[in-house]
């Protein structure tokens, strides 16, 4: 009756309820953009908004972008439309985000007074850098960690290359019959120069599988930084997954340019930091859902893990064998490999080793640099 305030406050408009749902979905981590939300409203309007099931289906079709989203969508939908007890739902807590100050560069001592003592300081700083390069990243203090994080920028992974089915012009190689003929046709059939071609190359896909279970927790941060370097250099051909109690696709987070933001985004995506591992099972899930379909086909697959396996090691062996048959090259990176007195005796490593092409160390920046070389050459 009263024209001025019966809209939003007393009776919520259906559109408002639906838009509220898209906000809740976005808060839960599904990337809902404005145009997707608009599509959702349009779809819901097509189906008639009164019905719960059709609203559910309209949202599923317009707001989700992959099977990972579907699970979250179901949870949020249920929480939003079914449980109306007026209590706020618990949201996944965000890990504390520390924003590093950009002024604190790895070599901050070097920019001191600039007088004679400067040289000494520089040398000292340089040797300290060299020491840090060989230190185990799990045993660093917070300040050292911060400096090592900056030093990751010195790693320059080159993606490995593969030959493609398509040819490109080249000044020697095979005769390019069709181009030669076309050139001569252009001259009305006069024979002309012979054109040559060779097979082109493209970056080969690199798949990084990072174990983030409890036993690897000291290395997770450094390994994700390494994955970030690979992703930034790889031009869209690098995919990263974390393995814990489940498999999480974190490539999207790794594509963020700034390493700190990428790590924070990965932290928000991965639900199982420092949990247990059942490597065999998670690997099988990866191969079923992603690897066998093509993600691992012909790719260089790098597994970062210490091989502590709670489950059945024979399953891990089987899955590694399967991975090897699909992948171009399988590299196993073990942080303990480079340490004195290490023997590959853990059940998981014993089961996996026969199916790896390379078994390399990965506990310090220097070993990461070696790994980068191994992957580039693969």
């Amino acid at each position: 009756m009263t024209p001025h305030d019966d809209g939003p406050t007393t009776r919520r408009q259906p559109d408002e309820v639906l838009l509220g749902f898209t906000l809740a979905l976005r808060a839960a981590g599904v990337p809902v953009t404005q145009d997707r939300a608009q599509g959702f409203l349009a779809a819901a309007a097509e189906l008639g908004a009164g019905d719960r099931r059709s609203t559910y289906l309209a949202g599923r079709a317009t707001l989700c972008a992959g099977p990972d989203d579907l699970e979250r969508y179901d949870q949020v939908f249920h929480a939003y439309f079914d449980a109306r007890d007026g209590l706020p739902r618990p949201r996944p807590s965000q890990p504390p985000t520390t924003t590093p100050s950009l002024s604190q560069l790895p070599l901050d001592e070097g920019s001191g007074t600039g007088d004679e003592p400067g040289e000494d300081v520089l040398r000292a700083a340089a040797s300290e850098v060299e020491v840090l390069r060989h230190r185990d990243v799990a045993a660093l203090t917070a300040a050292e960690k911060h400096r090592v994080a900056g030093m990751f920028a010195t790693l320059h992974p080159r993606p490995p290359r593969r030959r493609t089915a398509r040819h490109q012009r080249w000044h020697r190689g095979q005769v390019d019959a069709s181009r030669t003929l076309r050139a001569s046709l252009r001259r009305m059939g006069e024979p002309a120069d012979i054109a040559w071609r060779r097979r082109g190359t493209r970056p080969r896909r690199v798949v990084l599988l990072v174990d983030v279970s409890g036993s690897m927790s000291g290395y997770a941060d450094a390994l994700l930084r390494l994955a970030h370097r690979f992703t930034q250099a790889g031009g869209g051909t690098v995919e990263t997954f974390t393995l814990g109690t489940r498999v999480t696709h974190v490539t999207r987070a790794m594509r963020l340019r700034d390493p700190e933001r990428a790590l924070v985004a990965a932290g928000e995506t991965v639900p199982d930091w420092s949990g247990g591992t059942r490597l065999g099972e998670t690997l099988r899930f990866f191969l079923d859902r992603w690897g066998q379909r093509g993600m691992a086909r012909g790719a260089v697959v790098v597994v970062f893990s210490d091989g502590w396996e709670r489950g059945d090691p024979t399953l891990l062996g089987e899955q590694m064998a399967r991975l090897r048959r699909i992948a171009h090259r399988v590299v196993w990176v073990n942080p303990h490999r480079g340490k004195a007195g290490y023997e590959p005796v853990q059940q998981g490593v014993v089961a996996a080793l026969p199916h790896c092409d390379d078994f390399v160390a990965g506990h310090s920046l220097a070993t990461f640099a070696e790994l980068v070389e191994v992957v580039s050459r693969a």
């Binding site: 997707r36 779809a43 992959g66 099977p67 999207r252 191969l287 066998q292 993600m295």
Partner: protein, 293 residues
């Protein structure tokens, strides 16, 4: 279009032998109504490609199929000029003395004529529209191709510099399928309605068998589906059988003349159901247990 509800869509698809659940029917209905492309993902053998065929058949529209592969580019998806024929045409003009200094322009113009245009799938679909355009396994194409596809799918028109713009009178129904070998670009996904196709439940799969393989006897049909469903529940198979495999297996058993599954016939036809040696071994053991129970 005469389809005014998801139920009507399901019924029409059902007439062609494609049985779908309400989620798939709804999303198809929305795609038709909102004129948005439909992006289908799911396990291999769950009927992604078959849906496009069924839509085409049930709406009585031509189906244009674009199979994607690595390195596909605009000339293979849109159009190309038939260069040899253009040359022949010029030669023919020359031979008949048709080209004088005055009508060079005329001759040039005649080169870029409809008859020298090779319409590739996307252009075909736009010209033939209303039609169904199936872009199969879009994840196999390169990123650049996705960007190009996005452009076509948002405007439903193609500009050919020499001829002008081809615009679809009514936008074609577009179905994209992907096997998730890589993540598609967000921009493309946002254009589309998304659906993940699951394996069908027991009753539905029996129904599918009934409509797709009517020659298989009723008893065998149910038994086959029960076995396949139980195999899918196991999580130790490398490649759980899809609906296509179920159909193949039922037909194979029928050809052998078995009225019900026995171990000998099952072992002989296992190649129709599972495609890995390790899986075959596991399935044989599982079958042994199931049949004894």
């Amino acid at each position: 279009m005469a389809l005014e509800s998801p139920e009507a869509v399901a019924a029409r698809l059902g007439e062609t032998g494609y049985l779908c659940d309400d989620a798939l029917a709804t999303v198809t209905f929305l795609a038709l109504r909102m004129e948005r492309p439909l992006l289908l993902e799911g396990e291999p053998g769950t009927g992604k490609t078959a849906l496009a065929e069924a839509i085409a058949q049930s709406l009585d529209l031509p189906l244009v199929r674009l199979q994607c592969y690595e390195g596909i580019d605009a000339t293979q998806a849109l159009y190309d000029w038939d260069f040899p024929r253009q040359i022949l045409h010029l030669r023919a003009l020359e031979a008949t003395g048709g080209v004088g200094p005055t009508d060079v322009e005329e001759a040039e113009k005649s080169l870029y004529d409809d008859r020298f245009l090779l319409a590739r799938p996307v252009l075909q679909a736009l010209q033939a529209s209303p039609a169904v355009l199936l872009v199969d396994e879009v994840d196999r194409a390169d990123d650049e191709f996705e960007a190009f596809l996005l452009e076509v799918l948002s405007t439903y028109q193609v500009s050919i510099p020499e001829l002008g713009t081809v615009r679809a009178a009514t936008p074609p129904v577009v179905v994209l399928t992907s096997n998730r070998t890589r993540e598609l670009h967000d921009a493309l996904k946002r254009r589309c309605l998304y659906h993940w196709i699951e394996h069908p439940g027991l009753e539905r799969e029996v129904e599918i068998l009934r409509s797709r393989a009517p020659e298989v006897s009723e008893g065998l049909r149910r038994q086959v589906v029960e076995v396949v469903q139980r195999l899918r529940d196991r999580d130790d198979l490398q490649k759980p059988p899809g609906v296509a495999e179920t159909l193949d297996w039922a037909r194979a058993l029928q050809h052998l003349g078995s009225a019900e599954i026995d171990l000998a016939a099952a072992s002989a036809t296992l190649g129709a159901l599972v495609k890995y040696r390790e899986d075959a071994e596991r399935v044989r053991q599982a079958l042994d247990q199931m049949l004894r129970a």
